[in-house]
């Protein structure tokens, strides 16, 4: 036994070069990934940043009780679920439809050009994209002019100051920014389909829509299933960079998502333990959601991520 150990030690030191490549990475992970996980225990303490952690008193589930009785917490849950549901129900099919329609374009050059242009906004920062949105939605902005020209509204609406538009603003800006980029993965899946399938279907007299549905959509179903599982399990998350850019004091009622609530409580109000408790509860629910979504998908379609 002892001999085996020394042998292993010898072998270990013999490959010190390889080890010296990997170990800094492991140390980095221990510091930047594992230490924050360890710090999650302040959710059960009354932690103050000025003192060492272990000197803070344990308070059990006090912070958990506090946030479940906080109306603002439930409001942030409602906002998160509202925005995520719109994104999931209306937004999820959009890149798929875009990929399907783009696939029907015959000219290869036009197809490539459209695709290249379509994912440009993904690389534009949210500060810029959000800045354009705020300008367009404001007084005298493009949206107001367009709506009035079309006769949809007869006077200006300050869209971003009225909370009731906020969820839709996040949906539309996100769709404009990310549709092309999200479609890439479907386009890749479509390009992998055996062309023989289409020829066979054409001989059998299948029309364009039938081929699109029975061959294209069926062939990329596993990709759709995986992305759907991920989308469902991410339902408690939100696009923080987007919301942080578009929120203001007037629309906060509908804009404060769970992420933003955690930020506001933790970093603006300085209630570190309290917001860590919210974080803690959220990650447990998110893991559960991932499990449920995966299980359901496996049952219904046979496709899953693990």
């Amino acid at each position: 036994m002892f001999q085996l150990r020394t042998q292993q030690m010898k072998a270990f030191f013999k490959q010190w070069q390889l080890q010296s490549m990997v170990i800094p990475g492991i140390v980095w992970m221990l510091i930047f990934c594992y230490l924050p996980m360890f710090w999650l225990i302040i959710a059960f303490m009354d932690y103050s940043i000025a003192k060492p952690m272990l000197e803070s008193p344990f308070v059990g589930l006090k912070h958990f009780q506090d946030f479940v009785t906080d109306d603002r917490f439930w409001r942030s849950i409602r906002n998160t679920l509202g925005m995520s549901s719109i994104k999931l129900v209306l937004g999820f099919p959009i890149p798929i439809i875009f990929a399907l329609l783009l696939n029907e374009i015959r000219s290869l050059r036009f197809k490539r050009t459209v695709q290249t242009i379509s994912y440009l906004p993904h690389f534009i920062a949210w500060t810029i994209f959000g800045g354009i949105a705020l300008n367009w939605l404001g007084e005298g902005g493009v949206v107001n002019q367009l709506m009035m020209a079309l006769g949809v509204q007869d006077r200006e609406i300050l869209f971003n100051s009225d909370p009731k538009y906020f969820w839709w603003i996040t949906f539309f800006t996100d769709t404009l920014k990310e549709t092309g980029w999200s479609a890439i993965i479907y386009i890749a899946a479509i390009s992998g389909i055996d062309p023989g399938l289409y020829e066979a279907a054409e001989l059998d007299g299948a029309g364009r829509w039938q081929r699109m549905w029975h061959i294209t959509v069926q062939s990329i179903r596993p990709t759709i299933a995986i992305l759907f599982i991920l989308a469902v399990s991410g339902i408690l998350g939100s696009n923080f960079e987007q919301i942080f850019m578009l929120k203001n004091n007037m629309n906060m009622k509908m804009a404060e998502s769970l992420d933003l609530y955690i930020y506001n409580m933790g970093l603006v109000s300085g209630r570190h333990s309290f917001s860590t408790a919210v974080l803690f509860a959220r990650s447990i629910v998110a893991l559960g959601l991932l499990f449920i979504a995966n299980h359901t998908s496996k049952k219904l379609t046979g496709d899953s991520i693990y």
Binding site: M21, V22, M37, S118, L120, A125, I226, I262
Partner: protein, 294 residues
């Protein structure tokens, strides 16, 4: 007869579909065009914010305000520094770890992999991370942009699988010639991995260029605020005072905030827009690798 009707149907579909795709292109490009023309527009025109196609009256006044603004230019330098140092550190560190991990002879490899995998499932989240950064002295410190972003599991897996495709014979012959593991990595493996290095560098660079949120959370000192964070403050928090004062001094009251905003936005996006046609192939390639791995 049947054949002719199919032809006709295809024709209508094709036309509609092409028009739809053109509409997608328009919706994608017009916002950036809008920023460009309004930044070049004479200030009085930009203030109106009307829908237009070309600048009505060309003027570079707004740009001269932006380029003469010390805060903005300082932010520009900070962003360039964090983009260069941040992406270089990320690629180098991740690639070195990945090379070690790609060797099946590595003792403890299974344990290392488990340690890495857990980080994909669980994370501390915003508040614990913030406290840690404060304790590590990274709060209000330029290195907060570099060190916490040095490594990513996802990119390590991409590097690792790419390194495995490099023929063993190449590495072996270098070893026979007396090269160390580091020698093999830097002289044989990395020069043969330029495609994947380019892709990951670009992703990292775009992230560093566009990120404003790290700056909002961790940075208080003006001197190390990145450009995008300054832009966030100008646009979302409307804190234009410093620039407006300058503009007022220079142009009187006739230069309103809007055209300065547009010019700042243009300055902050121009590098991305200029490089985009050249780099987009690599970026798409990156997604493909990621998609196959995922």
């Amino acid at each position: 007869m049947g054949r002719r009707s199919t032809l006709k149907r295809i024709g209508v579909f094709e036309v509609c579909n092409t028009l739809l795709m053109l509409a997608v292109c328009f919706l994608t490009l017009y916002p950036m065009w809008f920023v460009l023309i309004n930044s070049l527009n004479a200030p009085e025109q930009a203030m109106l914010g009307t829908v237009n196609w070309f600048p009505k009256q060309l003027s570079l006044d707004s740009y001269s305000v932006v380029f003469n603004d010390k805060t903005m230019m300082n932010g520009f330098v900070v962003t360039i520094l964090r983009t260069v140092i941040g992406s270089a550190a990320h690629v180098l560190f991740t690639a070195i770890v990945a090379y070690g991990m790609s060797k099946t002879t590595l003792i403890g490899r299974k344990l290392y992999m488990k340690i890495a995998l857990v980080t994909m499932l669980f994370s501390g989240g915003l508040i614990p991370t913030f406290i840690l950064m404060t304790k590590l002295g990274l709060y209000d410190n330029f290195w907060v942009f570099v060190i916490p972003g040095m490594y990513s599991f996802f990119n390590m897996v991409i590097f690792m699988s790419f390194f495995r495709t490099i023929p063993d014979s190449l590495e072996e012959s270098a070893k026979v010639d007396g090269a160390s593991d580091y020698g093999v990595l830097f002289r044989i493996v990395l020069p043969n991995s330029m495609a994947v290095i380019a892709t990951i560098t670009l992703f990292s660079a775009v992230y560093h260029w566009n990120d404003y949120y790290q700056g909002v959370i961790y940075i208080r000192s003006q001197e190390i605020l990145p450009l995008q964070t300054i832009l966030y403050k100008i646009i979302a928090e409307n804190s234009m005072s410093f620039m407006q004062q300058q503009a007022m001094a220079q142009f009187g009251a006739r230069l309103p905030g809007n055209s300065i905003k547009f010019a700042s936005m243009m300055v902050a996006t121009l590098p991305i827009l200029l490089f985009y046609p050249f780099i987009q192939r690599y970026l798409v390639k990156g997604v493909m690798i990621g998609a196959i791995k995922g």
